[in-house]
Subunit: 336 residues, 2 copies
């Protein structure tokens, strides 16, 4: 089946629009981020700043901010809490890069290769602690509950991903569990705390949890497509990272489900045994394309995106609502 | 000056006595530890259990429990919070072993060498998240504040230690800052939350903070002595670990302060340049002994121990008080 990839709205970037609309608020969030990564130990702000100032989109704190305002709260509470969300994410990235032996992150050489694995582990721990200090300062046990649960789920997702690496028998359901834990859980927590800060009801918190969760699923699936699709320059990390690590994502899982005997041998050699040659990534991409696996994967992302749209429809009317909706589509379309 | 090392009370182990006295309570703490390290991801309880069930003394949760009871609270709140304290410690150990490239921990091969660095980092993150879930469940913002501050300080101490590694110009004051952060801060938090749980006043919390802090300082200095003093079997980790890593601790800092030109060259080669030969550890121990540096180091530990004794004297009369005092001396004497 032919899958038509939309290219219409690519000039419009709703993330940038949201950042512009919430510019003054985001300045405050950034202040909280910068202030709270300071330490007398020079290596800490140096290493944390290397990653934090490297042009990340700050999508998670932006979502916390936007969902708080969406439910009508105009005070300063989301600043510290948005910074806390970003710190959990940054700590995870620092530990991920050690775990994954990544070479690049956000277009720069990964922090662990510049400062060493040791420093990356410990500065990650520092930022993680700081995130809990920020939540504690805010003082809401409900928010501490949401974010500490999310942190535990993220760690479990990372361990699950590690356990599933090099396993060519992984199912789509297992893949969903991994990305649901390692990615969607923090998106969900980031958007759920918005209405909680605003004092909205449980239905609102549930709707925003769903919005963040499904957005996170679509976001991660789109990211996994990029690893087999985009140019190095466009994505700021090396294409083929997942392939080289033997990390099975949707495009490969789908290609594997349609593989003939010989193709299965190829995936087994390259992903299970990690016995890879120079042109194997190219071959992998060819097999993925042969089975239309990228288009199939986009459909999976589209399904989650539709659920995210259903969830955001439940939000009250507000100028932010349509932008939060546009972000969903943008998340998928950026890979086309 | 000759330093007489006390050997009188070595048969009596006040830690064991305390564990016996609080046996039923500690069973509950252990239940909380075991329950909260469970996960559907099999690798998590497997790896966490490998370290947690390896015969650690559980000194930190024991201290939380004891200081809570000392101030007259008899309920169940310290169970979860003691487990939280132990999880922060366990997470730190898991990350430490990755950072330090340790070969042994508690007499067993270090977890990272059995399960891999990746798994150790991620399971550490899981336990760290779990500790905050336990605190959140308890619901005291004051305790969350104490323990999240301690966590941030520990991470800073670890980074400071990393930055100071291979620096033969480190001063005793800098060494105190490192061990104060990486070790004493968690002891202090563990003992401070006792009176806080019990609803005692600020003076009580301050006294128990001081008790834990100075006990932690004495404990770490004694531990650093062991690395140049004890037999492998007695301590369950390799003697000479600090030396091999170029980690400067009190015995070496003191020996360095009295070193002649040639000795300084030796320390520079072995600890700064990490250019070490087979018999260098032996030589190092000889130099340390030549300058009476272990005895001098014991005196430093003794000073902190005396401050811990001053602090525990402020506690109310209770059968636990004398045991908490005895632990101070035991901490120092175990190295003799």
């Amino acid at each position: 089946m032919q899958q038509q990839v939309k290219k219409d709205n690519l000039d419009i970037n709703p993330l940038k629009e949201l950042t512009t609309l919430l510019h003054d608020d985001m300045e405050e969030v950034n202040k909280h981020i910068i202030e709270n990564m300071q330490s007398d130990i020079a290596l800490i702000p140096k290493l944390a700043g290397y990653l934090i100032n490297s042009g990340g989109k700050r999508i998670r704190p932006l979502l916390t901010l936007a969902t708080t305002r969406l439910y009508g709260y105009e005070g300063s509470r989301p600043y510290g809490l948005s910074a806390a969300v970003e710190f959990i994410h940054t700590a995870t990235l620092l530990h991920d890069d050690v775990v994954d032996k990544s070479e690049k992150r956000r277009g720069k050489i990964a922090a662990n290769l510049v400062f060493g694995n040791k420093a990356s582990v410990l500065v990650g721990d520092f930022l993680f602690s700081k995130s809990f200090q920020l939540m504690t300062k805010d003082g809401s046990i409900e928010i501490l509950d949401i974010l500490s649960n999310a942190s535990a789920i993220i760690a479990q997702g990372e361990v699950l991903q590690l356990s599933a690496t090099n396993n060519i028998n992984i199912t789509l359901e297992q893949y969903y569990e991994i990305i649901g834990s390692k990615t969607a859980a923090l998106f969900a927590a980031a958007t759920q705390i918005g209405p909680v800060i605003a004092g909205a009801d449980k239905q609102a918190a549930k709707a925003m949890y769903d919005y963040g969760y499904y957005l996170g699923m679509a976001f991660q699936i789109a990211d996994d497509i990029l690893d087999y699709n985009s140019s190095k320059e466009a994505m700021g990390k090396n294409i083929g990272d997942d392939f080289r690590e033997g990390k099975l994502t949707a495009p490969v899982i789908i290609a594997l489900s349609k593989a003939n005997e010989e193709e299965r041998k190829f995936w087994k050699r390259t992903l299970q045994n990690l016995n890879q040659q120079d042109d194997d990534l190219e071959k992998a991409i060819k097999l993925i394309n042969k089975h239309n696996a990228l288009q199939e994967t986009i459909k999976l992302a589209r399904n989650f995106a539709d659920k995210a749209i259903d969830a955001i429809e439940k939000a009250p009317n507000h100028k932010l609502k349509s932008l939060l909706k546009d972000i969903i589509n943008y998340t998928i379309e950026r890979n086309s």
